[in-house]
């Protein structure tokens, strides 16, 4: 069970009230037509899938509806950091 305090509405939300949105910081190339097939494939399908700290997107779907970012330990399920979508996570990410 993952419990996260939404950084927008500040409510404690349990897993059932949240929607998981996959890895965070996946950047959609600004000029898709100029991206190579490899670059586009990388953007579409390749994820870090770490054992440890994972930066991810979650939505307060049962509450205020806002998407936000979370750093979560995939081993312990511990939520290490939560931030709004316009901020960068300080925890995790490429070494």
């Amino acid at each position: 069970m993952i419990v996260i305090t939404c950084p927008y509405c500040q409510e404690i939300r349990h897993e059932e009230e949240l929607t998981y949105g996959g890895e965070a910081e996946i950047i959609r190339p600004l000029e898709p037509e100029k991206a190579s097939d490899d670059e586009w494939t990388e953007y579409l399908y390749f994820r870090t899938n770490p054992k440890g700290v994972h930066q991810e997107q979650w939505c307060c779907s049962g509450g205020c509806g806002q998407w936000f970012k979370v750093a979560r330990d995939t081993v312990s399920h511990e939520v290490l950091e939560v931030t709004t979508f316009n901020m960068k996570l300080k925890t995790g990410g490429p070494a």
Binding site: H14, P32, A35, D37, L44, C59, G65, W67
Partner: protein, 973 residues
């Protein structure tokens, strides 16, 4: 027949007597009794028959660890088989029935068979014996003889609910350790939840004779609890913590009890910052010949029955012990005014203090002795005691108390992966290494003295928050020393020594398993069924694996325990299913005109909404009605409730640019008042929705996703708005259920719409195909799109939802003279198939791109980027070997949905396939027609293919998927 109610004592309310029945016999008990204590008080002897050998069994323990007392119980709220008597609070009018033994547990016919068959029914009996010719030959008879009763099939009215919570500290167990912990947390400001499975706090303080801080144990406990709740602490009684999971998340089941019985259950999903595990321990029995006879109880339960319920297990007790706790029982029994029990101690030299105290109370103490046999077939009558020198004495008795050491309740820590480690001093498995932010206190650590238990609870709490409280004190009267393990009596027949009473696993079975090399504890468990009963081997596992260790010459610690898995105790399926059953399984979404559909004989199907599949008013059988409905649309006018169709408003200065990023078609050129059909993709180029988009004005667009995707498309828009394009000035409003939509389709649709008094021009030229108008219809605000899913002149009229039924009725009233008919889903879908219009999810799958459905031209024309565009030029999408959507006409036999298209050159299966039939039906105008996804299909028009469906192969011809009005003349009338 030995138990009885004492004159005094116990925490029962003797001013509130209850009547209840057991196997139809009317018995009495008191408020505060459990079913187990009340049965014991009434002298119940045999409470059931054992699982395999049908041996008589009696009440064995006071609580959750009892392997025997499984009964069927009916209270004011419902009936259930297989409940453990010690877990059922007695209420007035409760009916209990035994569930084993036929015709009765006292006189069981199967037992007379198993008595002779028992020698053959060893471990692995089923596997070895009932395999020829197969299990099903034996199943019915075996099932009748086994099991713990049948459900009555009725749906009970019990309340089921879920609750979610978080807390700073979860204290599991409200015994002395848990109470010392919450006491020490007083004033810490922490949000504390204290949980106990009993109906009152106190744990063993409720029945043991103990003083804490100069008061009686219970007075101290009551004080701690009242301080705790006064400070806002949450006390959950009648609550089992059933599972511990990652991230300090717990599931708990709270029984909601009222004067009628079990009113309902509440499942808690709780996440805690810190956890104090104070779950205590359960007594372990000793293993000797005929150790399962009714009248045999755990020693701690004998004390609990006296102290908590004022019930004696018998007049003359024998205590068989290998540790000091047996002496506590002797003193308790003597203090209750019963004859002083015999103590049979396996040890040569227990502490002098204990022996002296017991002797002073009148007990005879037999040192270095063990019970070698029991006499009495249906109830213990005497025990044979063997001394060290081999001499035997027989001691008459009517009850035996077993103190084989205690087993810490480490389950919850083990759920989290903490490894139970064998501790020689306490002869038990403990969990020294705990999950993060867990602390353990009390008997669960192997602690055996109250002072130590209290200090541990206090210490755990102080680690979390140092409040500077003082440690609760208890004077140790008699120290509880070590345990001299005796896993199996040295004399007696192992074939009559029961280790697991619930599953009838004997010492001899474990040795047989060892001989047959089932020596791993996990194999032992599955081969012999040791510990696999509903009691999960609480009293049997440790003895069993110790006997295995002995049989294989290994240390107990090396043998180890089996894996502990949730739930800690049986959890009702109903509690887990909660409201998600019957009508609560999924909400039935009703359309605004639902009652009108019902009134006209609609046969509903669940499409996320309850939608008419066909109408009984159009024909007596489905096919006939569908034909009538289709003909009405092609020849006159049909009225179709399209209310679930998605409606999403996209508004703002950037609305056009925003919506253009989603649809495959170019929407920059969509003029005000116009409608365009398109599809949208995920960014991998796979189609996930289709529908029309209307431009209401330059700042307001109305997207019409499919009914099934109405919510997900709105969420999809919103996600991209927030996460990728936050600078765009746009707002998204899902308004699907705000509007009821009625579609009028057919050559007379305009005439019918005119009858509904639109206050705007609906003439052919003023309101052409693929246009959108707003105004009033029948005096209410309406949004009308002239679009078509049927190939006919069609209007989709949306009015505020509250007018939906009135509009439906008005349309049918006005349309009556024109031959209007109500149209169900099936006719609607067949009409669209005649036109070859795509039905999302039927004609597309998880690989279908816009290029595969003939929208390549539209894609090529759009300059701007849209989601999915770049992926369409990735090699696998541009490979030229895609499955493409085409039409099919049969050559020999009707085409069936789901049929596989065989690769070229094959006319038998198995063989490679190149696609499948996605839609098929019989059309009144065009005969049997179908659509299919076929590899490179678009370039194979006119070719023949073989189709495999339901065991036979038929032939069909690939065609352009339009079967009616190929020039679209009917659309533009």
């Amino acid at each position: 027949m030995s138990g009885f109610r004492l004159e005094n004592g116990g925490r029962i309310d003797r001013s509130h007597p209850f009547r209840f029945t057991y196997n139809g016999r009317s018995l009495s008990g008191f408020a505060g009794d459990t079913l187990a204590s009340a049965l014991l008080a009434n002298g119940s002897g045999i409470i059931g028959r054992s699982f395999k050998y049908h041996r008589p069994r009696g009440i064995y323990a006071a609580g959750v660890e009892d392997p025997n007392a499984m009964l069927a119980v009916r209270d004011a709220h419902g009936y259930e088989p297989g409940l453990r008597a010690g877990q059922v609070a007695l209420v007035d009018g409760l009916e209990a029935k035994s569930v084993t033994g036929w015709p009765s547990p006292d006189f069981d016919l199967v037992a007379s068979f198993t008595r002779f068959a028992a020698p053959f029914m060893t471990a692995g009996f089923y596997y070895k014996t009932l395999k020829w010719p197969n299990w099903s030959w034996y199943e019915e008879a075996i099932r009748k003889a086994a099991g713990f009763g049948l459900p009555d099939g009725a749906v009970d009215g019990r309340l089921r609910e879920y609750r979610h919570a978080t807390c700073d500290v979860l204290v599991i167990g409200a015994g002395p350790a848990g109470l010392a912990a919450v006491r020490a947390l007083k004033g810490s400001g922490r949000d504390v939840v204290l949980v106990d499975h009993a109906n009152a706090a106190g744990g063993a303080l409720r029945w043991e004779d103990a003083d804490v801080d100069g008061q009686s144990g219970m007075d101290w406990a009551d004080g701690v609890v009242s301080d705790f709740t006064a400070e806002g602490g949450t006390l959950l009684l009648n609550t089992f913590v059933t599972g511990a999971y990652e991230g300090n998340f717990f599931t708990m089941v709270e029984s909601l009890v009222d004067e009628g019985g079990l009113k309902g259950e509440r499942i808690w999903k709780l996440k805690a910052e810190h956890v104090i595990l104070a779950t205590g321990s359960v007594d372990r029995p000793l293993v000797y010949q005929n150790n399962d006879r009714p009248g045999t109880l755990l020693s701690s339960s004998v004390r609990q029955f006296i102290g908590e319920y004022g019930v004696a297990a018998g007049q003359q007790l024998v205590i068989f012990t290998n540790n000091d706790s047996g002496y506590l029982t002797a003193l308790k029994v003597a203090r209750a005014g019963l004859s002083a029990p015999h103590i049979i101690d396996t040890r040569q030299a227990p502490s002098e203090a204990h022996v002296e105290a017991a002797r002073a109370a009148g007990s005879r103490v037999h040192l270095g002795a063990h019970v070698s046999n029991v006499t009495g077939g249906k109830h213990v009558k005497a025990v044979a005691v063997s001394g060290e020198s081999g001499q035997q004495v027989s001691l008459p008795c009517d009850a035996i108390a077993l103190a084989g050491g205690s087993t810490p309740v480490v389950h919850l820590a083990a759920h989290r992966g903490s490894k139970p480690v064998y501790d020689e001093a306490s002869a038990s498995f403990v969990c020294p290494t705990l999950p993060r932010r867990w602390y353990s206190a009390g008997a669960v650590t192997g602690a055996r003295n109250l002072a130590e238990v209290l200090a541990q609870g206090h210490e755990a709490a102080q680690t979390i928050a140092n409040t500077g409280a003082d440690v609760p004190q208890s004077e140790v009267m008699l120290g509880m020393g070590g345990v001299a393990a005796m896993w199996q009596a040295p004399t007696g027949n192992p074939k009559n020594m029961f280790v697991d009473l619930q599953n009838d696993v004997k010492a001899s079975d474990i040795k047989l398993a060892a001989r047959e090399n089932y020596v791993s504890v996990e194999h032992l468990k599955r081969y012999t069924t040791l510990g696999m009963g509903t009691d999960q081997g609480r009293t049997s596992n440790i003895n069993g694996l110790a006997i295995m260790a002995d049989a294989t010459g290994r240390d107990i610690g090396v043998v180890g325990t089996t894996t502990f898995r949730p739930p800690y105790t049986a959890t009702r399926m109903g509690a887990i299913a909660h409201h998600r059953q019957m009508d609560g399984y999924a909400p039935r979404r009703l359309m605004p005109a639902h009652q009108d559909h019902v009134a006209h004989g609609a046969k509903f199907e669940d499409f996320g909404w309850q939608r008419p599949d066909w109408y009984g008013c159009n024909g007596t059988d489905r096919e006939a009605a569908i034909k009538v409905e289709m003909k009405a649309v092609r020849g006159a006018v049909g009225v179709f409730d399209a209310s679930p169709l998605g409606k999403i408003e996209v508004a703002g200065p950037d609305a056009r640019a925003f919506i253009n990023k989603f649809y495959v078609s170019n929407l920059t050129t969509l003029k005000t008042g116009r409608v365009r059909y398109s599809v949208m993709c995920h960014d991998d180029g796979i189609i996930f929705d289709d529908g029309v988009v209307a431009c209401i004005d330059d700042n307001l667009f109305l997207a019409g996703p499919t009914s099934g995707n109405a919510e997900s498309v709105a969420a999809w828009f919103e996600r991209w708005r927030q996460t990728e394009w936050p600078d765009m000035q746009v707002a998204i409003a899902p308004v699907t259920s705000n509007w009821a939509a009625i579609a009028l389709a057919g050559p007379k649709a305009r005439d019918l719409l005119a009858k509904l008094s639109p206050d705007f021009d609906i003439s052919k030229d003023a309101f052409p195909h693929m246009h959108y108008r707003e105004g009033n219809i029948a005096g209410v605000p309406a949004r009308v799109a002239r679009v078509s899913f049927t190939g006919e002149l069609q209007y989709e009229v949306s009015v505020p939802a509250r007018y939906g039924q009135a509009l439906m009725q008005a349309a049918m009233r006005e349309g009556d003279a024109m031959g209007a008919k109500r149209i169900g889903m099936e006719a609607w879908l067949r009409l669209r198939l005649e036109k070859g219009y795509l039905h999302l999810g039927s004609d597309t799958n998880g690989r279908t791109t816009p290029l595969d459905i003939g929208m390549g031209g539209v894609v090529a024309k759009k300059q701007a980027d849209f989601l999915g565009k770049r992926a369409l030029s990735l090699p696998y999408n541009a490979s030229g070997r895609r499955e493409e959507l085409v039409g099919l006409k049969p050559i020999d036999a009707p085409i069936q949905i789901g049929g596989r298209i065989l690769a070229d050159g094959y006319d038998s299966v198995p063989c490679p396939t190149i696609g499948n039939v996605t839609s098929a039906c019989d059309s009144p105008d065009a005969g049997n027609i179908a659509m299919a996804l076929i590899e490179r299909g678009a370039s194979r028009i006119g070719e023949r293919v073989n189709i495999y469906a339901e065991g036979s192969i038929s032939e069909a011809k690939i065609c352009v998927p339009v079967f009616v009005d190929p020039k679209n003349e009917r659309l533009h009338v």
